[in-house]
Amino acid sequence: MESRNAWVVAAPLRSLRASWDELVALFANVGFGVTLLATWALLTTIGVIVEQGKDASYYAGAYAPPLARLILRLDLENIYHSPAYIGILGLIICSMAAATFVKVIPRRIPRLHPVRIEAIPLHATIQVAGDVESVRARLAAFFAARGWQVRTRSFGGEEWTFADKSNWARRGVLVAHIGFVVIAIGTTIYWAKGYSGQFTVLSGQTATIPQNGATIALDRFAYRIDPIRTKAGIVYQPIDYVSDATITGRDGVPHQAVIRVNHPYDVDGTLVYQATYGFGIDFRLTRDGRPVPGPDRPLLEGEGFVVDGTARAIEYQRFVGTIDRTTGQPGPDPRPNDPGVVIEAFDGDRPVGSALIPLGEPVDLGAGYRLDAARYVLYSGFQYRYDPGIPVVGLGALILVLGLCIAVYSLPARLFVQIRPVDGGSEVGIAATTVKGYDVFEDRFGEIVAELRRTEPGLEPPGPAPSPAFAG
């Protein structure tokens, strides 16, 4: 009864084990791994072609309706964070792990074993003078002098000589796979512990990073844009953006900071980056010449306000540095020489018109209302990011490249040497295998054989050396 129970338990376990083995074999299969990589490449390319992170209305406008529906239903507008994409990455890591443990590690250093010399495509046979032992010693010295690691083993009473080169490099693929996994770990650390965000600060105002409580007071923002004459005409080229700020971190001590593009500021491990800039506008509203409540702070591009007591709203769309007075349209120079703003008026949700209004020149909104874009205030846009996984990602990248270089640039090879006595001397059979097949070693093997023929005293009289035989 007991043994029957054991059988009842063991059978599902055996079945489970067999299924597990099949699953591991599938994941370790190169074809499966390559299919996953191809799917990854395809999804990544879709993400390049389909603009990411836009509103549904954008896709409805940019694509034919069936295509837009497909994009939205398949999550293609947010593909890099979609379950499919993350799932593929997970499967690739599983496949790499399976391949690493099933194939890469067990096969990294193949055991020494005898072979049938003629069965290996790269092989040659040479007849040399001397008995087997003396030839073996000479060949060992020959290979050792050329950097080969020489070992001898006896199999069934027959001595074999093995010469290996770059055996250490057989671990290149393993190293590359480890690098990939380390990168994945570093990325996960950011997801688990890191944070990032962005904010804008008007000159003279202060902002706080919510995650670490650091404050950034923008003392001054400055930019430099130069007119450059090119073959196509004048181009206004941005040269520099600089934020002078006072930053207070955990220590409570204010620090003067200059933040530029490519020069972030580190506050308690969180890096603050110069990202954007713009012009905040101080709008003033009057009715019949008397001030009425309007926006209580300078507005940034895209912000708006409701005209008090009406259904009308005004949106500040964009800043115009220089108005071309001859056309009344925005000029090409973005610097605020003769500035204005483009505003759009709404009646409820319905746009009723837009206008370019010069700064300091009030515009009539009707019903006695007048709007004055009184002055501009520069603001600076910052990004911040705390990423404790970066050193790990960097290490992983280094390991990956190292493994890739080892795998690509080194050629681990093994020579199998069998020496047999023949009349008046010995017959040396040599075969070569490499981790990258035979073609890549063909020339080198030919050189080795030719050198052996030159240096070893042969049985044949001197004359043109016959070519080694290479079997297909």
Binding site: T44, I239, Q383
Partner: protein, 329 residues
Amino acid sequence: MDPTRVWIDTALLEIGIAAYVTGGLVLLGYFLLRNPVLRNLGLPLATLGCAAQFAELGTRWWMTGVWPLTNLYGSLSLFSAFSVLIFLVFAYRYNLAVIGGFVLMLAAIALGYATTWNEGTMPAVPALQSYWIKIHVPIVVAAYASFMVACCVSVLYLVKDAAERYFQRRGANVRGAAATSGGPALDVALSASYAAGERGIRREDTPATAQAAAAGDVWAQWLAGLPSLARLDVMQYRIIGIGLPLLSIGIITGAMWAKEAWGAYWQWDPKETAALASWIVYAIYLHLHTRPEWKGARTAWISVIGFGSIIFCYLGVNIWISGLHSYKM
């Protein structure tokens, strides 16, 4: 700007284009006729063009003090110079001059197209004012260039492989016809064989082509003079072996620069992701190249697809898709 320096810049550019076009035609002649005189003439012309291009980029830097790779003109110039440089290394080291005509013609086209983006010299925008531009851009462009040279080898492989299949089919038909008519069967060994060649040991892996060549087929005789399939495969692998580590380092240095400039080492910008897609394609190549059953025509196709993805990443994304690397105005 000093007119003498401008004149030197223009002259070097024109020397580069002229040398590439002339050298390309000469090396195409070598490809068709296999006359060593043409090779010995074409390779120095390629060297001259390559040197002129590097000198032109150096002159531009010297002229303006601005690193010359801040726009598509500089980048494409470096691309064509690197592609010719990599070709020259393989031509001299591995006797691979047969692809020179194609490489030089593509380099000339790239350089010609680059001139349409030549707006003169401009200071760099703030994001490009970083020492990383001197590290990241040359590495990535060198990777692109090596993939272009590898693609030329792959196409040659595919042509020779397709011809071999054609001659195999034709040989089988002739044998079949001979067998049914009771005539003498052709003594053709269709399996791969090895034979002694001009470099000591040379593999003959297109037996049907060799057989057809021996039977007097002119097209087969011409094909038989090309490097063996095995050799082309090894060359293609070696060139991709230069490109893939460079692309990896390029993506990593780009990520380091992005972290310094924008706060995140990876932002899923179209350029980053397109480069990642290309990297994956070449990673597939490397994986498949370890499998004997996939090595050969299939990996050659992957190399061609990979270069297509590089073109998309290099020009398609920069020109047509908005992003942090966009050249769209």
